[in-house]
């Protein structure tokens, strides 16, 4: 580490825990928005699973930014533990995305039948959009998770 980097880390040190807290705050914000958006609790219903998955997929990008903030600050501050926690967070998000994607794919046709004739086109367009977003988010989250693991393996 150069003298410049050491000095910068010293200046950065007081704000590092706050930045972690900011990342956690983002995660809490997004998760509570999902919880408030979920209508009741009935996983046996295809429409419930579909709506919950859609809500989750819509929030994943912001969750990833919160996790990225924690990961970035941890790497900047040279702290391994928060970086590992962020990696675990990415893994959890990836698992949730897989379930969400499965639900969107499997439950989509059942929900499509419920949609009225006037709203069918709009539903199909939104459905395709959600599937694409979920796939892209899954690739992004898995990519970051794998990349973040690399330095640990090397060390």
């Amino acid at each position: 580490m150069t003298a410049h980097q050491a000095e910068f880390q010293e200046i950065l040190q007081p704000v590092v825990p706050v930045a972690y807290f900011g990342g956690v705050l983002i995660l809490i914000d997004q998760l509570t928005q999902v919880l408030v958006g979920i209508a009741g609790f009935d996983p046996s219903q295809a429409i419930w699973r579909f709506q919950t998955s859609a809500l989750l997929v819509g929030r994943v990008s912001a969750m990833s930014l919160g996790l990225l903030l924690i990961l970035g600050v941890a790497q900047l501050a040279g702290q391994a533990r928060p970086a590992r926690l962020a990696q675990a967070g990415f893994a959890v998000v990836a698992v949730l995305l897989v379930f969400g994607l499965a639900s969107l794919w499997i439950d989509g046709p059942a929900v499509k039948q419920i949609a009225g004739p006037g709203e069918l086109r709009g539903f199909v367009l939104r459905w395709i959009r959600m599937l694409l977003v979920a796939v892209a988010a899954l690739i992004l989250v898995l990519g970051v998770w794998l990349q973040a693991r690399r330095p640990q393996r090397a060390s």
């Binding site: 706050v18 900011g22 983002i26 914000d29």
Partner: protein
């Protein structure tokens, strides 16, 4: 204040400042449009405004991080101090806001239909929790930012004579 960046990286930090300013203007404009016409005397308007404002937490925290990284990277200790004071003031405003919000929730609760009570309470609890956590964040960020700016000023003073004598830092 010591600058931890080379010349090409400085451009990136200035771009971060600009991006953060753009996002802040965009978010405030969107919030203002959503809340217009402003009826601060109405309980329902205040409740909705509070919920809308708390929904912006994620974006504003990211902007916060961008601003701080840019200011520290460019060595703008004065800006970090202003940033810290703004956070302390915001913390106080949020604290006052959550007190008014709690009273509003109690008032609106009487008019909510039983079938909508659960979602109303969930939304109110979410908003209250988010603001309380934001208060902690603001005060903590204010104090930490102040400390950080003090360290950078100390580093500045240290680096002064070192540069004159030509000793490696």
């Amino acid at each position: 204040m010591s600058e931890a960046t080379s010349v090409p990286a400085r451009f990136v930090f200035w771009a971060l400042y600009a991006a953060a300013a753009l996002v802040i203007v965009d978010q405030l404009a969107e919030l203002a449009i959503g809340l217009y016409p402003f009826r601060t005397g109405e309980v329902h308007w205040r409740f909705g405004a509070f919920g809308l404002a708390t929904g912006r937490a994620t974006v504003l925290i990211l902007v916060d991080a961008l601003l701080l990284v840019a200011a520290l990277g460019l060595g703008h200790a004065g800006f970090v101090r202003v940033w810290s004071v703004i956070h302390l003031v915001l913390g106080l405003i949020f604290l006052g806001g959550v007190a008014i919000f709690s009273l509003d929730v109690l008032e609106i609760r009487r008019t909510v239909r039983p079938e909508g009570m659960e979602s109303f309470l969930l939304a109110a609890a979410r908003a209250a929790v988010m603001v309380l956590i934001s208060v902690v964040f603001c005060f903590w960020a204010g104090i930490a930012g102040w400390r950080s700016s003090r360290r950078s000023k100390q580093a500045d003073r240290r680096s002064g004579p070192v540069l004159i004598t030509g000793t490696e830092r």
